[in-house]
């Protein structure tokens, strides 16, 4: 096995960084610390500032205010070609007038690496992405997935301490995307390089990342591991952006330190209370809900919401239901294989415990940015 060199990844530290284009603020006061060797994904809808952040790190655009350190050194004013960072673009950006081999050799030539040494490193990089047989082909003779693997080899061949990827799989179909995600993960494990990955696909972010930074409207809403973001979203936006969820709204009061909300006439209890005076909403994950027939035995401490099945979808691995609650909210429910079947029009009760719920401050902008 032709083991690629393990390189020490670079740390990135962004402090109070802003980016303005005229009156438009693309980024406002973001703080982001990326650890050496970490796989960090910048996740968010389009226009949220994630690509702007990537461009700041790459040096394609200058920071308006704030500080940016890579590998412990400030890079303010340093042009992109002096930053020694690998970048993979969504549209591959392979040079059409060069063969695959020449493309991968390009950054080495720029660094004065010639002869056998260059040949060897080109071969090693192409081996890593399993494209060594294509060295003499031109980019337009390759499929999208093959081109992106070559682009990856080209961005890594000069052993940069940091690799940036801007929606690299965005133009590929689902099957290929899933396979390449695993390839990227493997390469990251082998190299120890710091990876910064931009995507708007939350599933992709969950598959790949050590940590995820969720962007919205030019700010970072939350940084954490996939599990942290899913189980303990800090904001309604994060809760809704990561995974499926149902948002319950209604009049609420505090009883014995817990929040009790009235949704369509049913009272449900969530542990704890919100700090401050924002009105609370409750986030309910579809797989935390069990569907029961109305009037079935109640378990103590259990929440119940009644509704009617509006849509029933068989998924193979289980079923998905959309249940219309009495206040008109559509709740999404995932039932595991072997759970009772329901048909459209059936009256059902959604049951869940207070621990299954997440209490969050309401945020109207979370709805508008997502749709």
């Amino acid at each position: 096995m032709n083991a690629p060199q393990r390189s020490a990844g670079a740390a990135i530290e962004i402090r109070q960084a802003s980016k303005r284009y005229g009156a438009f603020v693309a980024l406002r006061d973001i703080d982001l610390h990326i650890r050496p060797g970490e796989f960090m994904t910048l996740l968010g809808p389009s226009g949220s500032g994630k690509t702007t952040t990537l461009n700041l790190i790459a040096g394609f655009t200058d920071i308006s205010s704030g500080a940016l350190d890579i590998g412990g050194k400030s890079v303010t004013g340093l042009p992109s070609h002096k930053r020694n960072i690998g970048v993979v673009f969504q549209h591959y950006a392979l040079f059409p007038h060069m063969t695959v081999g020449k493309n991968v050799a390009y950054p080495l030539s720029l660094r004065g690496i010639r002869g056998d040494d260059r040949e060897r490193r080109v071969k090693r990089a192409l081996d890593m992405v399993k494209m060594a047989d294509f060295a003499h082909r031109y980019p337009n003779e390759l499929s999208g997935g093959q081109q992106q693997r070559v682009a990856l080899a080209r961005a890594l061949v000069f052993d940069p301490p940091l690799l940036l990827m801007d929606e690299p799989l965005g133009a590929l179909d689902k099957k290929l995307r899933e396979w390449l995600q695993l390839e990227i993960k493997r390469i990251h494990r082998e190299l120890g390089t710091t990876f910064v990955y931009v995507t708007h696909d939350q599933e992709e972010a969950l598959v790949l990342s050590d940590r995820i930074a969720v962007f919205n409207g030019g700010r970072i809403e939350q940084i954490g591991t996939g599990r942290e973001l899913y189980d303990n979203p800090a904001t309604l936006f994060v809760g809704r952006f990561i995974g499926e969820s149902t948002v319950l709204r209604g009049a609420s009061e505090i009883v014995n330190g817990d929040t009790v909300m009235t949704v369509g006439g049913d009272k449900i209890v969530a542990h704890g209370r919100l700090d401050g005076d924002a009105s609370p909403v409750i986030l309910l994950r579809p797989e935390r809900v069990a569907l029961k027939r109305p009037g079935s035995d109640a378990v103590s401490g259990e929440n119940r919401l009644s509704g009617t099945v509006a849509e029933a979808i068989y998924l193979g691995s289980g079923s998905k239901y959309e249940v219309k609650l009495k206040d008109g909210t559509i709740a999404v429910v995932r039932a595991p294989l072997g759970a009772a079947d329901f048909a459209i029009g059936d009256a059902v009760d959604l049951t869940f415990t207070p621990a299954d719920l997440t209490l969050l401050p309401d945020d109207a902008s979370a709805d508008t940015t997502l749709t």
Binding site: Y21, F24, A26, S46, G47, S48, G49, K50, T51, T52, N55, F60, T61
Partner: protein, 288 residues
């Protein structure tokens, strides 16, 4: 999505403010060899031999000049019309032809387009002269020869042939961008082929037609070589009058005034036609 700046931010680095200065040498050449000479022409038309509008008064009072001016526009209109009739079907055929035929058709346009205008006019002299090809053939089949050289029809025929590529190329470049699936769509909606062609295809091709027509018309107005070699006293065009005033009579003021009239006519036409040539419909272009 209202907030687009997530993606285009890759570009500004390569669209830089200083870029305009790269055009400095070109602008300098234009100032020296275009703007300054034209300014001299304009100035002399008002100052030579004496300051005032005398040259323009002379120009518009002379019946001969008015006839020539009118003739210049009439010839330009005929040439434009004749080339449009020839060019539109030809350009359309270029878009639907197979690869080899298209190459042959393109070749037939490009060779005359790039061949020296003097040589092509020479060919017309040989064809149209009293002892030329056409009259030889007429004599051969027992008909009496016709006067072609130094007549207006001769000038129009020669100019049309010389200018035809300038009509075909713009029309073709617009036509090849038209998505022919639109025609299929129109037909699937129940339009007859001819109706679909007239209502969908023709309007989409109009920017090319306008561009070709305005180019041919403007070039015709200022055409010099072909009318000079094929025309006679009764088919003089404005350019020949200008040349005659300046080179033979050394009357810079009158020649200049005629030139200014020609220049103004050209730019007025361009300004009027500019909105027509804007390709409103290009968003339907097929991705190549």
């Amino acid at each position: 999505m209202t907030d687009t700046p997530d993606r285009p931010v890759l570009l500004p680095r390569f669209r830089f403010r200083g870029a305009v200065w790269l055009a400095t040498p070109a602008v300098l050449v234009l100032l020296a060899a275009l703007a300054y000479p034209l300014a001299i022409v304009v100035v002399r038309s008002f100052t030579d031999p004496a300051p005032g509008f005398d040259n323009y008064v002379w120009f518009f009072q002379s019946a001969v000049n008015r006839t020539v001016l009118q003739r210049t526009f009439v010839v330009a209109a005929w040439v434009t019309l004749a080339s449009l009739i020839c060019a539109y079907p030809y350009a359309y055929a270029m878009t639907i032809a197979g690869k080899n035929l298209r190459l042959a058709l393109i070749l037939c346009v490009l060779v005359p387009f790039w061949l020296s205008g003097v040589v092509r006019t020479l060919a017309w002299v040989i064809l149209l002269q009293d002892s030329g090809v056409i009259n030889s053939m007429l004599r051969g089949i027992g008909l009496s020869p016709v006067k072609l050289i130094r007549t207006l029809p001769g000038v129009v025929i020669g100019m049309t042939q010389v200018l035809l590529p300038f009509m075909i190329l713009p029309i073709y470049s617009v036509m090849k961008g038209i998505d022919t699936r639109l025609l299929q769509a129109a037909r699937s909606l129940g339009a007859k082929p001819w109706r679909a062609f007239l209502q969908i295809y023709v309007p989409l091709s109009l920017p090319g037609v306008y561009a070709g027509a305005i180019i041919v018309f403007i070039l015709s107005l200022g055409f010099y070589i072909t009318p000079a070699l094929l025309g006679g006293p009764r088919s003089t065009m404005l350019s020949s009058l200008v040349q005659n005033q300046v080179l033979s009579l050394l009357n810079w003021g009158r020649g200049g005034a005629m030139g200014v009239v020609l220049l103004v006519a050209t730019f007025v036409l361009l300004a009027l036609a500019a909105p027509l040539m804007r390709q409103k419909h290009t968003r339907t272009r097929r991705e190549a």
